[in-house]
Amino acid sequence: MNSELLIWLLPLPPLLAFFFIVLFTNRTKWLSHSIAIGAAVLSFLGTMVLIFRAIQTDHFGEHPIQSSINWLPTGDTWLQIGVMVDPLTVVTLFFVSITVLMIFLYSIGYHNFGQPKGDHDLPGLPPHGAVKADVHGHKKLVLSIEPMYSRFFAFIGLFAFGMYTLVISDNLLTLFVGWEIMGLCSYLLIGFWFAKPSARSAAIKAFMTTRIGDVFMLLGIAYIYSATGSLSFQEILSPATLEMLVQKSSPIVGLTAAGLIGILIFIGTIGKSAQWPLHVWLPDAMEGPTPVSAMIHAATMVSAGVYLVVRMFPLLSAGVGHSSLPPPMVAMAVIGTFTAIFAATIAIAQNDIKRVLAYSTISQLGFMIAALGVGGYVAATFHLVTHAFFKALLFLGSGSVIHGMEHGVFATGNHIDPQDMFNMGGLRKKMPVTFWTFTIGGLALAGFPLITAGFWSKDEIFVDAFHHQPFVFIILALSALITAFYTMRQISLTFLGKPRSNAADHAHETPWTMTAPLVILGFFAITTGWLGIPEDFPIIGGLVPNWFHEFVGSTLTVHPETIPFHPVPLITSLVVSLGGLGLGWYVYRKVTDEKVDPIQRPLGKMYVILKNKYYFDEFYQKVFIQPSIRFSEKIVYAFMDRTVIDGALHWIANVTLIIGKFFRNSIDMPIVNGFGDLVGNVTTKLGFIFRPLQTGKVQQYMIMALVTLVAFTIIFYYIFF
């Protein structure tokens, strides 16, 4: 198969799986997951073939694989859609295909395939567990299978389709289509347990919040189209077009067209990648099933936001050489840096294992945005890849922990929150595989030196930041310190020490379908980093060529320069990660009390603020939501709709009624109906007259027929002869 066709076919298997499951195999659970995983494997294999071919090609960055078809006629020209695979796409496809496949596999175990059906399980609620007798006849509560098992696989299949479509698009339009499909899937999957009010509102919140970003993004796309007449990356990112956009001034004073477009598109990323101030939906999205959190809100969908800005980086950075930094880059640097520290601080005070990870995701995405803001194109991409692996690993690990805790909850029967880290502790012994893999993920997140992938990617960001914007570097270092601290806090609270609840005491290792993805992702969480070791790194630099920098860097027409080695970022990196980890271990090494956080007292009032996430939700509630509700109710509903529109309608209706009555009484009743009645009556009367002919006696009919025949014969004879 040639590469072009292969690319076109990549997104198809998950889409077909979605339709097939929805239409045919909704009742057959094993078949549903087999189809979904089969589709994921097909896409994975296709991706691997494609990556292999791409790596084999020399100067791949200059000669991306491309194919397009005419889609919509726009007057004389055609709106073309197509696919493109360049180095950036390759690395993105690499982590997307692997994490998607792993998460599909993980979902089987997470949704308790093979367990009995729960007696009280309803669609729309998490399974309540089923009573099952063991070999000795003891009845006990065990995990029960998800009632909407097939639907879940259908949704994640559709989601995978959206992600593949987004990645392989060669234009903004199909990218936006994939983007919105993922938005829809995110909504559906966050609200997967739609009978839970919190899940419902979280789904709506996520959908509405990301829509804000998407609207601006769509505006940006429209502006690009009107300015350049094309949406293809190849054309809008070509130097000539960029130059034109930079020269052109925009309606907003002080901004070039390129600047305005960049900011608009960056707002889309803010929504999708949950950057401040549109970050509020991501922590709430943890209401969905954990594979969803891992897939959508760590590995792929939020990465899509970063992918977009990476993809559009030439546009965003257009005009670097002119005077100062272009406005989009400033915005990215500011917002990324702020989000990184902002989210990291919130993460310190969260007790929910998944929420901590959610804030850390926001924070890490902030790192990437900030890196782009300072021009670290390769660094951002590198961190995007490594983050996808280790964050997926962390989420899946947390899911495994929760699953084990649920097992404990069912076994002991005391209903505690299985996601609260203060109810855990000592799980290291109970769930060894989960512990080790989670620790790998945690260390990667914290940037544990040399071994983990996170160290190398974060180090590269530091280097870029230090080189270009020292202020950004300082803030990022601070947030990295906090990151290491809360990571260690999480590991300590969850796995180390003694169990702080019966449930934790009875926790159990999860099935192989869940642990196998953890191990595989753990492998990648370590090894991915070795692809991008800087050449001039002390001692080990140059042992492995800095392949990543070469490969991804070739995407850009202007090859990014290699920044010379400087000891400050390296030392900073070592200090913050090791220091944060050490601090975290010191503070949380022996937590015995279930509820009291050791940092509560030192932080004081600050802790409460952090615990409540700087009161952002409340702020939005007061400032945006309640006024808009009030506006809707009082003005739009009561006045506009009820009084003005309804009143007009009623008036028209009344007038029409009067006219209608007039027509009915003066035209329809006497003339039309009268005529109809006349016809009917005449027919009836005629029927009465002729009725006696219909005697029912067949011979009389025949006589009549023959007489008539004879009569007509005679008449015709005399007429015609």
Binding site: R691, P692, Q694, T695, G696, K697, V698, Q699, M702, I703
Partner: protein
């Protein structure tokens, strides 16, 4: 030889007698017999025309055989109908079978 007209007049007479039977008889089976008479008159015509106008062409005889087949089919179905009717209504008088009247 016998002139053709004799056969034709005879057939016409037989046909009209049969027609009278069909139109005037009360009993449905008698009506059926009238139809048989008419069919026979047709057969005589067919065979007579074959003999007098085209003996080298076998069509007349073949169509007589067709008429036999049609008559047999008609009688079997007709009688089955009458027997079924007799079972339900106790009569096969064509006068009394008038459910379809006004």
């Amino acid at each position: 030889m016998i002139p053709l007209s004799w056969y034709l007049v005879f057939a016409a007479a037989l046909f009209c007698v049969g027609l009278f039977g069909v139109l005037a008889r009360k009993n449905a089976i008698a009506v059926l017999m009238g139809i048989e008479l008419m069919l026979n008159a047709v057969n005589i015509n067919l065979v007579a025309f074959w003999r007098y106008l085209g003996p080298q062409d076998i069509t007349g005889q073949v169509f007589t055989i067709m008429v036999f087949a049609v008559a047999a089919a008609e009688v079997s179905v007709g009688l089955a109908l009458f027997i079924s009717l007799y079972r339900r209504r106790g009569t096969i008088s064509a006068d009394e079978i008038d459910l379809m009247k006004w």
